[in-house]
């Protein structure tokens, strides 16, 4: 299959695929006309990458998994390097969670204090009021995957 189809099936873009190729992940064969050619294996590699990215892995960190798959393993995390990466990532996540929880608590306290102060004392200035449509959570983790569109039947469109 060509790059456009692979991109659609993987729920990504051609630009992304070319980018991955430039980074050395996901090499493509070429047809006579120079077009990139992919197979089902490549789709699996791509899905592995996407899954890990959803877990907050950086592109580089998905490399062990991709190479593991390419080495013939049925699962990207069947190799020691992949498992090691899992462990590192888990540790990072724990450190991250600890920090965020600490900050959350401190922020909560600050808010409580500020609210207490603003209840009694003077300084009445109309509050912003009304839901201002939350802007962006920001977790550097990308929301709950936007659903991978499989090629077949797409009633919408």
């Amino acid at each position: 299959m060509r790059i456009g189809e692979l991109a659609r099936r993987a729920g990504t873009t051609t630009r992304t695929l070319r980018y991955y190729e430039s980074r050395g992940l996901l090499a493509a064969r070429r047809g006579e006309n120079g077009y990139r050619s992919y197979d089902e294996e490549d789709l699996r590699l791509l899905r592995q990458i996407k899954t890990l990215q959803d877990f907050g892995f950086e592109l580089e960190e998905t490399r062990p998994f991709v190479e593991c798959l390419r080495s013939g393993q049925p699962e990207g995390d069947a190799c020691p390097a992949s498992i090691e990466t899992y462990r590192r990532k888990l540790a990072e996540l724990d450190a991250c969670l600890a920090r965020l929880q600490d900050v959350r608590e401190r922020l909560r306290v600050q808010l409580a204090r500020a609210e207490r102060r603003s209840h009694g004392p003077a300084g009445a200035a109309g509050a912003p009021r009304g839901g201002a449509a939350a802007p962006e959570p920001r977790c550097e983790l990308a929301g709950p995957a936007p659903a991978v569109t499989e090629e077949g039947a797409r009633p919408w469109t």
Copy 2:
């Protein structure tokens, strides 16, 4: 005081101060020679900004607090807009924590499965072994503040 001194006292750099000025936070008076001139109030503004940044606030999100202080309030979070920002941030943090915890759990499960598989079956390839010096936690929150250097007595140096 001039920009260099303020930067030192606030534990930041002159570049940062000029950047804040360009963003409309922290305006400076100018001396006859064109040099920026700051006072203790500015130091307070800066500290407010730093504190919030440590909490993961983006620069723009510190604006309500800074303006609150400039309006004469004794505390940057004494204004409704600041409190509103606290609330938004707290909500964001909660959403972020929920996502991270979910990811953590999924990652933990994946790791456990991968480890189980790699215990029995073949595929013995020397594991990386040895601590590889943790690279970078990444929380977008900046570690536990590097201690603000106050101008007076500095035995080191």
